[in-house]
Symmetry: D3
Subunit: 125 residues, 6 copies
Amino acid sequence: MNTREIGRQIIEELMGPKYMENRDKQRNAFNSVLHDYADEVCFGRVWARKGIDRKLRSILNVAMLTALNRPAQLRSHLEGALTNGCTVDELQEILLQAAVYCGLPAAVDAFRIAEEVLRARNLLD
Amino acid sequence: MNTREIGRQIIEELMGPKYMENRDKQRNAFNSVLHDYADEVCFGRVWARKGIDRKLRSILNVAMLTALNRPAQLRSHLEGALTNGCTVDELQEILLQAAVYCGLPAAVDAFRIAEEVLRARNLLD
Amino acid sequence: MNTREIGRQIIEELMGPKYMENRDKQRNAFNSVLHDYADEVCFGRVWARKGIDRKLRSILNVAMLTALNRPAQLRSHLEGALTNGCTVDELQEILLQAAVYCGLPAAVDAFRIAEEVLRARNLLD
Amino acid sequence: MNTREIGRQIIEELMGPKYMENRDKQRNAFNSVLHDYADEVCFGRVWARKGIDRKLRSILNVAMLTALNRPAQLRSHLEGALTNGCTVDELQEILLQAAVYCGLPAAVDAFRIAEEVLRARNLLD
Amino acid sequence: MNTREIGRQIIEELMGPKYMENRDKQRNAFNSVLHDYADEVCFGRVWARKGIDRKLRSILNVAMLTALNRPAQLRSHLEGALTNGCTVDELQEILLQAAVYCGLPAAVDAFRIAEEVLRARNLLD
Amino acid sequence: MNTREIGRQIIEELMGPKYMENRDKQRNAFNSVLHDYADEVCFGRVWARKGIDRKLRSILNVAMLTALNRPAQLRSHLEGALTNGCTVDELQEILLQAAVYCGLPAAVDAFRIAEEVLRARNLLD
């Protein structure tokens, strides 16, 4: 497999085949450069590396996206974190630590998004 | 031990007794509220929790502080990450992933700080 | 009263009993650590302090949340600022100053949210 | 024309007469200071300057608003960029470059907004 | 007095005649547009307004500049805050509140700068 | 030439052969992943694209790096902008526009760095 195919396989493993199908339908002449960048650079080049496992890569993204204030990607990578074996208790610890370092408002926003993700998966009592 | 003592013990384990001694010397009437906040809230309340280990807490901070653009704290928590068992190869992966999500300039700054930390510990060839 | 009770009383005085009731209903096993953190650290420990009055604490939050780009919390603390005696004219000055220091786009977003808050309270002609 | 009139003329040329009419209807006692600031400082004082053309001013704003994470203003200035002669291919390049420097999540958000703007103008196949 | 003269008078009252003299010496063909912008927009137009007093304007800047991560301007406006009657105890409260909302790293950086400012004025024991 | 070689050629054209030589000396086992990322992704993949010229790419970076608060990279890309034909007057306009959108403190920091770059090239009277 070339870099692009490796990247696409990782995205599909992370987000599921339905996500991948939707994503491909939304591809057009304008956004194709970004799709290629995500496939080849983000996933094919960086996520494909060894050295840290995918669970940790997902956790890093949850931490960074909370700090960066990017709710849409945070939601996707909270999904990915659960897929990669991150537990609800671990997510709780990660986002609580974000309250201290990124500030309470960042954590409030992140917890709200995480609750929506967990509820949709019946992981919230 | 009360929360404050637990927090102070964690800081000392993370940063070393010399750091702690220096820190206590710098305490004064003005910054004492911040010292107490760090001791009791950041370390005594959050770092003291179970659920994720200290190595992961350090890694989260490296990721968040790279995103938040706070070089002085990043340096301290890169030290802490190494103390908590994070390897040089793992740091390399974490900061490379930051290049994709936080942007190349954030990663360039973080790599430079990490190189200084690693060189001071003879961990860079 | 312990720190938690003091914190909860301040939140209720700031946001009203209805907000508090809703907030308690939304508490669950996942977000309880964040609720406790807000109750005990943010409100019980910091807002409970003397030295500056609550009106100024609200104003600080309006300024910081505008800079931090956190619209949901900005809305809550605009409410709190009005409750704590901040006038419409004062809010206008605060957000205009944010235009200079945080940039015009930050101020445009903050004014829009403030207008919604003021309109709901019939404070906008 | 005075600074305010010059500024208002530039806004109208950038965003169209309909936008201007709506904007004037939304003016009230609270937001008038911000409207004046935008008219006189942003447009009358800065956009009115020579030295770089309006197309480049629009492009600068697309780049800065992507970095600053301000989607509502980004949308307006993507409109302005198209009005000022920026092509779809140029926008694609600008936002791809943002992926490298501001991080992939910033670019994903910006591409999504740009796609909505382009679709509304029938500029997306 | 025109807007520029009003602005310059406010800067001088805020920062002192020595600062003003230095500032004027550093003026050159390149930075003159920024000097004029600061004189006329920031100080002549916004700081000159009534509605909130200068002490509060200084405090707003301390809060916003801590959030915005701009240490050089933070230093200047900590000076200005003291000149405008802000006490050391008030600064302590303001920066502690920033720890909760902007995150601990932002507050650590701001306290360090504030300590340097206070020490230079013999306001720190 | 492969992507890496194309990227390295662009960096050298942008920053000069001396910069490139220094950069290669600083390459080590730790930072090599970042060097490769910059060579292949940032320059070989994105800067190498047609569609906008290099002068505009440099200008985009000046705008984004001012917004992102990354002074070290801003300095490099101000150098690059001058190399790519950006005039002093154009830089002045770009950074003044940043004052409006990113806030005055961001522009003050950027002008200071730009002045140092211009002075070193005898481009400041």
